[in-house]
C-alpha cells in the first residue's frame, strides 16, 4: 500500500490582494515524482515556499510525512532537500565546503562530500571556489546540496536549467535514482519533455489553481490528439501529410495513402504536455 508523503488540502496564499495560490488540493505518494507545471506567476514558487516552510499557509493545511507543516516544520525540514531555481551558494567557499556546511546543519554523522560531488559530475573540482564555477556547475552543485541529507522529500525547482544535454541527462538519472532510493520528488520544470519523461503525474497550475492533475499518459489520452505524420515522395519532392488517429475514417485514409502514394516515412505523433496545457488553460507554459 502506498502512503501519501505530501497531502495538501484547500491551501491558499495571497500577497496582499493578489491571490497566488487558490484553494489547491493534491496528494503525492511515496516514491512518486510529481511535476508541477505552470507559467511564471502561476503560483508554483509560492506553493513550494509554503510546503518547504519558507511561508506559512494562510488557509488550508498541508502535511508532509504525516506531519503538519505549521506545527512540525523543523522535523519536516530535517527530512527534506530543496534545490532552488536560482543558484544561492556560498560563492567564496568551495563546493565541498558548501556541502559540508549543510551536512553539519542537518547533523549528518557520516557524510562523503567527494562521493556526492562525483555523482553530479564535479569530481576533481571539489576544492575550487564556487565563484569560479560555470552556471551549469553551480546548478549541479545545487542539486548535490539538496541530496546532502538523503531526504525523504525532494523539492527540485528547475534542476536541469542551464545544463548542457549530457549534464541534464545525468541529473535526470540522478532524480530517478533518488526515487528508487525511496524519495518522493516534487519537481517544478518548464521542460515538458523532461516532465513527460520523469514524472509519474503532472499538475497544471494556472492562476493559482490546479487546472489538471494526472499521469502524462492519461492527460494525453484525455486531451491530446494522436496523429500520424506520413512523408511521401511525389515527382522527386517530399511532402508531409498528417492523419488524425481515433477517427472512423482513419483506416481508410491510411490505406489510401499507402496504395496511391510513395510513402517514405511514417511517424506517430501525440500531443505534448505543452499542447495540452494550452488546450486546458488557454495559456502557453513558456513565454
Amino acid at each position: 500500500m502506498t502512503q501519501d508523503t505530501i497531502v495538501v488540502e484547500n491551501l491558499s496564499y495571497h500577497y496582499g490582494k493578489i491571490l497566488a495560490v487558490d484553494n489547491i488540493n493534491f496528494r503525492v505518494a511515496r516514491q512518486e515524482i510529481l511535476g508541477f507545471l505552470g507559467p511564471n506567476g502561476a503560483g508554483k514558487s509560492t506553493t513550494v515556499k509554503v510546503l518547504t516552510g519558507q511561508l506559512r499557509p494562510q488557509e488550508g493545511h498541508a502535511t508532509l510525512l504525516g506531519m503538519d507543516i505549521t506545527k512540525d516544520i523543523e522535523r519536516v525540514q530535517a527530512q527534506m532537500g530543496v534545490c532552488f531555481e536560482q543558484p544561492n551558494l556560498y560563492e567564496q567557499m568551495s563546493a565541498l565546503e558548501n556541502l559540508e556546511l549543510f551536512a553539519r546543519l542537518f547533523n549528518m554523522k557520516t557524510f562523503d562530500g567527494y562521493a556526492l560531488l562525483k555523482k553530479v559530475g564535479l569530481e576533481g573540482r571539489e576544492k575550487d571556489r564556487v565563484a569560479n564555477y560555470s552556471k551549469g556547475m553551480k546548478q549541479r552543485l545545487m542539486v548535490a546540496r539538496s541530496l546532502v541529507n538523503q531526504a525523504e522529500i525532494l523539492f527540485l525547482d528547475e534542476p536541469t536549467s542551464g545544463l548542457d544535454p549530457v549534464s541534464a541527462d545525468s541529473i535526470r538519472n540522478l532524480i530517478l535514482q533518488e526515487r528508487e532510493r525511496g524519495a518522493t520528488i516534487f519537481l517544478t520544470t518548464h521542460d515538458m519533455w523532461e516532465a513527460d519523461k520523469l514524472c509519474n503525474r503532472v499538475a497544471f497550475l494556472n492562476q493559482g489553481k490546479i487546472a489538471a492533475l494526472d499521469t502524462p499518459h492519461t492527460l494525453k489520452q484525455q486531451y491530446g490528439q494522436r496523429s500520424l505524420v506520413v512523408e511521401i515522395s511525389r515527382n522527386g519532392q517530399f511532402e508531409e501529410r498528417t492523419v488524425t488517429l481515433d477517427k472512423s475514417e482513419t483506416p481508410d485514409t491510411v490505406r489510401e495513402l499507402f496504395s496511391r502514394e510513395k510513402v517514405v516515412t511514417v511517424h506517430s505523433q501525440e500531443a505534448t504536455l505543452e499542447d495540452i496545457f494550452l488546450k486546458i488553460t488557454g495559456r502557453r507554459l513558456t513565454a
Partner: protein
Amino acid sequence: MSAHLIMTLIKKDLKLFTRNQFYFIMTIVGLVLYIGMYFVMPKTMDETMKLGIYAPGMPLIENSLVNDEGIEAKSFSTLEELREAVLKNEYPVAIALPEDLLTRLAEGEKPIVTVYLSSSTTEEMKGAITALVKQLAFLATGQDMPLEMRSEVLGPDLLGAQIPWRDRLIPMMAIMILGTEILSLAALISTEVEQNTVSALLVTPLKLHHLFTAKAILGIGLAFIQVLLFMVVVGGLSHEILTMTLVLFIGSILVTGSGFLVASLARDMMGVTSWGMLLMIIFFIPALGGMMPGILSGWAKVLPSYHLVDAISRLSNYGASFNDISGHVLIMLGWSALFTISGVLTLRRRYR
C-alpha cells in the same frame, strides 16, 4: 542542537569574513595602523616654552626667566642674534627689552618692549607673551600686582597632568576599530540576503533566531577581540581593567546592533557602504570631543557613541571608576537594544 547550529554558522561566517578581502584587510590594516599611529605619536606633552631674551644690563630679569619652570629661556648678547634665532624658528618667541627700561619705568614713562614672533606662533602664544612681558615689568620695578588672583578649573582638571595627544586619540581609535565592524557585520548579513543563501539555510533545521544569534556572537566577538587587543597594546587597560573591559564589551554590542540596523536599511552592498559610512561618521563625531575638549556642543550627548567615547576617555585618561561611567553603560545598553531589536525585526520581516 541549537548550539551546534549556531557554532556551524559562526564557523561559516568566520570563514567568509576572512575570505572577503576588502573587509578582512581593512580590519587587519586598520588595527595595525591605529596601533602604529599610537606609538609614532609623542608619548609626552611638550610643556616647555622656548623663549629668547635680549635684556642688556638686566640680569635679574634674565635669571628669573632662565630659572622659571616651564620656560626654556636663552639670553642673547645682541639684538641681531636674537632676531636670527627667531627667523630660524629656534626660538619661536623672543623679547627685546630696551636698555633704558628701568629708567623709563622709574620716571613713569612707557618703555617700548619688542616681542618677536616666528610665523608659526599661534594667537594664544601672542596673548601669553603679552601677559609675560607685563609680569616682567612688575618684576623689574619690584612692585606687586594690585590684583587678587583666583582660579577655577572648568571641565576636566588637566592642570599639571597634560595628556599626550596619542592618549587623547585612544577613544577615537577605539571607535574607528569598532566602527569598521559595523560595516563588516552588515556586509555579512546583507550578502546572505542578496545572494539568497538565507533561503537555503532556512529550509534546514536552522531557524532565524539561530541565524541572528550566530551573527550577533560573531559581530560582538570580532569587535571585542580587536578593540581589546588594541587597548592591551596601547596600555589602555592599565587602570580599572574590569570596568574598561565591560565598556569595550558593551561598545562591541553597540556596534553589532548598529550592524544589524545597517543591514536592515540596506538593500545591497552599495546600501551597506552608504548607510554604514553615515553611521560611522555619526559615531566618529563624539570622538572629536575626546581629542579637543570643548569642541562639541551639548547635542553631541544624544549620539550613541558619545557615551562610549566619554567612558573610554575618562577611564583611560582621567582615572575614572565604574561609578563615574555607570550612566554611560546603561545608556549604551539602551541604544544597543534599540538598534538590535529594530534591525532584527526589519530583517525578520524581509526574510519571511
